[in-house]
Symmetry: D2
Subunit: 343 residues, 4 copies
C-alpha cells in the first residue's frame, strides 16, 4: 500500500495500450516518427495556441534544459528554496548551465510571493558583473507542499518577471493535478498568465517516463532546445514510445480524468484528517499530496499497518502521502479506516 510517491504506480491501461500499439513496424528514429510529429498539434489544441513540444523521458532533464535556455551561464534563477530543481535534482540545473545559480527564496506553503521576488531583485546587481544576473523565475505547479498557485498569483509573479526582464518557467511535474484543482484551462495556467516554457509532467499521472517541454512563443528557441536535448543524451532513438504515451494521455481528456481521481483520493483523506481528533493537515490539500502532522508513534503505527510513505526530511512528525490515479477507491477506504483506528 504505497503512498510514497505518484511515480511508483504502474501505467494507466490506455497508456500501456498506446505503447503496445506503437510497437508496429519501423519508424524513423530520433523523434522523426509519426507519433512525435503529431505532438505539436495535439498540445496546441489543448493549450489553445501554437505551441512547440519537446518530448523527454524525465522531468529533471526538462527542467534543466528549459532553465539553461532561459539563462545565460552567468544568470540566476529565482525559485522556492524547497523547489525540486533546488533540492532534488543533484545539481542538474547547474550542470546543464555551468555557472548559473539557483536563488532559493522562502515563502509559506512552498509558494513564491511576487513581493518577495521584487524585494530580492532590488538588492541584486548592485555590484554589476560581480553578481549573477537574475534571468528567470521558476514556479512549481503544484508545489512541493502540495499547494497550488492561483491564477492571480502566477500573474503577479509573471508581472514581476516582465518588469525585470526575466523569463518564467513552470515545473509542471503535477501539472494536471494543479489544473484540476484550479478548474482552469491549460492556457490560463500557462501562457495567458505569462509562462514562457512549461515542464509538462505525465509520468506521475499514469505514464511511463513520458514528459515534455512545452514552448509558448519564442519560436527561435526550439532549435536550441533540440540541441540541448541531444547533447545531454535525451534524444531517445525510439522516441515513438514516449510520444505515443503523450498522445494517448491527452486524448479524450484522459490526463484530466486521471488527475481528478488522484485529487479526489487526496481530498477524501484530507477530509478524514480534518475529522480526526489528533491528526492534522500541515498544509491545505489542493492537489494529490497530503502532508499529515501527527506524533511520530502514530505515523509509525500507520506504517506498521502496511501503509508506506515518507517522513519529511528532518522531521519526525510530518509525513507526506501522495495519491495516484492508479490507487483504487477501496485502498483509500482502507487508509482512512486505519487512520481512524489510530487515535
Amino acid at each position: 500500500m504505497n503512498f510514497r510517491s505518484d511515480n511508483e504506480g504502474p501505467a494507466a491501461a490506455p497508456i500501456l495500450q498506446a505503447l503496445v500499439d506503437a510497437n508496429q513496424g519501423t519508424a524513423h528514429a530520433y523523434a522523426e516518427d509519426q507519433w512525435s510529429k503529431r505532438l505539436d498539434e495535439a498540445f496546441s489544441e489543448v493549450f489553445e495556441a501554437e505551441v512547440r513540444v519537446l518530448p523527454l523521458a524525465t522531468g529533471t532533464a526538462g527542467n534543466s534544459i528549459a532553465l539553461a535556455q532561459l539563462c545565460p551561464p552567468w544568470g540566476s534563477v529565482v525559485c522556492h528554496q524547497q523547489a525540486h530543481i533546488n533540492q532534488d535534482e543533484c545539481g542538474a540545473p547547474e550542470f546543464y548551465n555551468p555557472g548559473c545559480k539557483l536563488a532559493g527564496l522562502t515563502g509559506d506553503l512552498c509558494k513564491l510571493q511576487a513581493d518577495d521576488i521584487s524585494a530580492w531583485l532590488s538588492h541584486q546587481g548592485a555590484h554589476g558583473v560581480h553578481n549573477n544576473k537574475p534571468s528567470a523565475i521558476s514556479l512549481t505547479q503544484a508545489t512541493e507542499a502540495g499547494t497550488v498557485y492561483q491564477l492571480d498569483e502566477i500573474q503577479a509573479i509573471s508581472a514581476v518577471a516582465r518588469a525585470n526582464d526575466l523569463y518564467l518557467h513552470m515545473d509542471g511535474a503535477r501539472f494536471a493535478n494543479a489544473l484540476i484543482s484550479l478548474g482552469a484551462s491549460a492556457a490560463d495556467m500557462t501562457w495567458r498568465s505569462g509562462v514562457d516554457i512549461l515542464s509538462f509532467g505525465a509520468s506521475k499521472n499514469g505514464c511511463i517516463s513520458a514528459e515534455a517541454l512545452v514552448l509558448f512563443g519564442h519560436p527561435d528557441w526550439y532549435a536550441d532546445l533540440e540541441r540541448r536535448r541531444k547533447r545531454a543524451g535525451h534524444l531517445l532513438c525510439k522516441m515513438r514510445y514516449v510520444s505515443a504515451q503523450l498522445l494517448a494521455y491527452l486524448e479524450n481528456d484522459l490526463w484530466l480524468t486521471l488527475a481528478a481521481k488522484a485529487n479526489e483520493h487526496a481530498a477524501r483523506f484530507a477530509a478524514a484528517i480534518d475529522q480526526h481528533p489528533t491528526a492534522e493537515l500541515a498544509w491545505p490539500v489542493e492537489g494529490n499530496e497530503v502532508f499529515l502532522r501527527w506524533p511520530r508513534e502514530k505515523l509509525q503505527a500507520l506504517q506498521d499497518r502496511g501503509f508506506d510513505f515518507y517522513f519529511w526530511p528532518g522531521s519526525d512528525d510530518l509525513a507526506r502521502l501522495v495519491f495516484a490515479c492508479t490507487h483504487s477507491d477501496t485502498l483509500i477506504d482502507q487508509l482512512i479506516s486505519n487512520l481512524d483506528e489510530i487515535q
Copy 2:
C-alpha cells in the same frame, strides 16, 4: 522497407511482453525496484564476474557518463575519428566533462591500431600541463564501419592503455552483434581483454530505450556513476520498465538469438553483393551493417524500389544498410532480388 538503422524497428515480442508484465502494482522509484535490483546478478552471470550495472535509456548518456568517470576534466580520450562519440553525439562527452577532449585518430575499417595509439601518445605531454592529459581509450565494438575488433586487437590496445595509465572503455551499441561475430564470450570480449567499463547496448537489438553501463572492477566508481546519472536527468523514476527489458533480453540468450538473426541477414546480403557484377562491399561485413559501394544512380534505383537507407556523409556512391533482428527473411530475399535486378 527500412534499412536506415537498427534503431528504427519495433521491440522484439519477448521484450515488449516483459515491459507489459512489469506494469503490475507499485514499485519503488529510481531504480530501487525489484527488476533493477536483479540486474547485477543477471549481468554477472553473463559476464562470468561480479559486475555492477547501471541501467539507462540512451547510449549517448552511457558513453558520456562512462568517459566522464574515466577522465579528469583536463583529460583526453583516444578514439577513432569516426567514432560515434566523436561524430554523432553533438559534443555530449565534452558537455558531461567540460574541458575534456576527444582525440580522434585515423585507422582503416574504423579501427584503432595499438601502434598508432602508442605513437600518438609518445608526442603527448611534451608540454606538461599545457597539453590535455591522455586518460582513456574508447573502442566501438562493432565499429562504425560494421567491422569487429578481434580479441587480440582489443588486447593489444588494452596493453597500450595499461602501459600508459589509461582506462579502456568499450562503446557496445552493437555489442551482441560483435559477440556473435567473434563467437567469443562476453567476458573474453570485455574484462578478460582489459575493458574497464562497457556501454552495453540493447535498443538496437530488439529493446526500447534500454541500455546499461557495465562496470568491471573499480567498485568505488559505482557511487559516482549513480551521481552522474542522476544529475544528468537519466535516473528514470520508473526504471523498472528499462530493467525489465534488460532482464528479458538476457534471459535464455534472447539477445544472442536476436543478434545472430541480424548478422545472418547482413551476411546474406553481403554474399549477394559479392556475387554481383557491379556492386562492391566497401568493408568486410562482420556484424549487421553492410557498406555498399555502387554508382549513385544504382543506389538511387534501389531506393526507388522502396528500400530506405543512408548515403555515407560526403559520399554519393557509398551506402549503409543496417540489418535488424526484426527484419524477416522474406524482406532480405526481396532486397537481394532487387539488388540483382539492378545491374
Copy 3:
C-alpha cells in the same frame, strides 16, 4: 580620499621595487622561474610546515580552483550566505565546477557557526543521490563583515568538517589583517586548526594582482591544481612578476607590518565612532573594515566632503569603509575630524 576598498590603493614601495628588480634578464615561463620556485620554501617557513604554493593573479581564481578541488561536480560547499564566493564572483565557483552548489547559511557577523553547519548537514542526503553531496566548508577570514573567526571557532567548524568528511577551505583575501587581529601564527590560523587549503590574498594588502593557493598536506592535489590553473588561463607566462611580489611580501614580515597599519587605521576610526554622539558601529571592528551605521544624510555629508566609500547593498544607513596600508595617518586624522564635525 578613497575608502571604497583596499584593492584601490597603489602597491607598497617594497613590492613595486621587487617587481622592478625582477625585470632583469630572461626567466623560464609558466612559473618555472627562480622566484616561483622559491615560493614553497618561503611559505613553508611562514606556515611552519611543508606547504605547496600556487601563485595566481586573482582571488576569485584561487577560490574557484580550490573549491573545484575539494568537491566532486555534484558536491556542495557550505559557506555564509554573504560570502564573497556566493555573492561577488558571478558564479565563478559553479563555473569552475559545473553542477556544484554553494549552500549559503546565515549567521551573525557574517560568521558560520559550527552548530548551524551540523544542523544543516543533518538534513542533507536524506534523499540520497537526489541531493548534492556536502563536500566542503569555506570560511572567509576576515569575514565580509570585517569580523574575524577566533581560533576556537575555526577549530569547532573544522571538527564538524572532519566528522562529516568535508574539507575546509579558507578564503583569506584579508588573511594578514585577520592574523594581526588574532595575534596568532599563520600555522595556528590554518592547518593547525584544520584548514586544508587557503586562498592567500596579497593584492588588498600592498601587492598588485598577487595571490596564492597554499596547500596543507594532500600532496597529490598539487598536480591537479596546476591543471586547473592552466586550463582556466591563470598560468601566467611571466609568473615571475607575481612570485617576486609574494616573496617581497613575506620578507621581513612586510605583510604583517602592512596589515597592522591598515588595522590600526580602522581601529582609530572605530574608536572615533564609539565616541561619536550619533554614529554607530554596525559590527565590531576586528580587521581593516569599518561598518558605520548612520543616517543617510550624514553618510552623504561625509561623502560630500570628499570621502568615498560604499553603501551596503540594499541599505541607506550602512556604509563600509575599508582601510589600507597605503593610507596615511594624516588621512585618517582628516577622516576622523570630518566625522566629528558632522553631528
Copy 4:
C-alpha cells in the same frame, strides 16, 4: 642565451616605466580606472574604427572567452590542428564552453586553407542535431609555424566564414610581428578582412601579462565578454597595471618598433641559415620565429654552447628559436657565429 620563447624576456623599459608610473594614488578597481577607460579610444585610433577593448592577463583567457562568445555550447570551432588553442591550452576553450569542440584541420605551414574549410563544412551537419554545429573559425596570426597569413588568405577564409554563418576569431599572440611582416595596417589585418574579434597579444612583445580582446562591431557582445571575464576570475581588481602597459605599448608605435626588432633578429638568423652548408629552414621565416632543421647532434652542439631553445615535440632534428625585442644585436651576432662554427 634564451631563445625558448618570446615570453621569457623582461618587459621593455617604457612598459615597465608605465607600470611604475601607474602606481600613484588610488584608482577604481575592476577596470573602472582611468587607464582602462582610455583603452577603447587608444585602440580605436590604432584600428581606425570604434572598437571595444577588454584587458586581460593571459592569451589563453582571451582566446577562450572569445570563442565561448562566438559559439553556442554545441558549436564547433574550425582551427588548425596545430593551433595553440587546440594543442597548448589544456582544454581551456572546451572548459570555458562545455560541449564545444575544436575541429583541427591540417594545412601546410600551420595555415588553414579556405578551400579545406569549405570542403570540411560540406560534410558537417549531414546528421542534424547529432553533429556539433560549426560556428566559428579561429586563425593564429602569426601562426604556430612562424608563418603569416597574407591579407588575401584571411579574406578568403573570412568569405567562407560569412557564407556559412560562422564568426572569425584571430589569435594574435604575435599580432605585431605579423603586422610588421605584412606591412599592413591593423585595420586591414582584422576587421577590413572580416575578423570579428581579436586576441591581441602584448606579453610576448615587451609587456608583462598584458593582453586584450578587441571587438569589431557586435556592440551587444561586450557586456557578455565582461561577464565571461569576471566569472573566470580574470577581472583583475588592479587592472590599471595591465591597462597602463597597453597604453604605453601603443603609444608612439612602441609595439611596432619592438616587433620590428624581433622580426629583424629572426630574419638575420634565417639569412645565416640560408647561407649555412648543413642547416636548413623548415618553414619560411615571416615573423620572429625560426624553425631550424638540422641533425640532432648539431642542434645539441648549439645548445651546449649555451643557446637554449626547444626541440619540436616528437622530432629530434627540428628546433624552434624565438626572437624577442629584448634580444640585443650582439646576442644575435653570437648566435650566428656559433651556428657558423658548427658545420
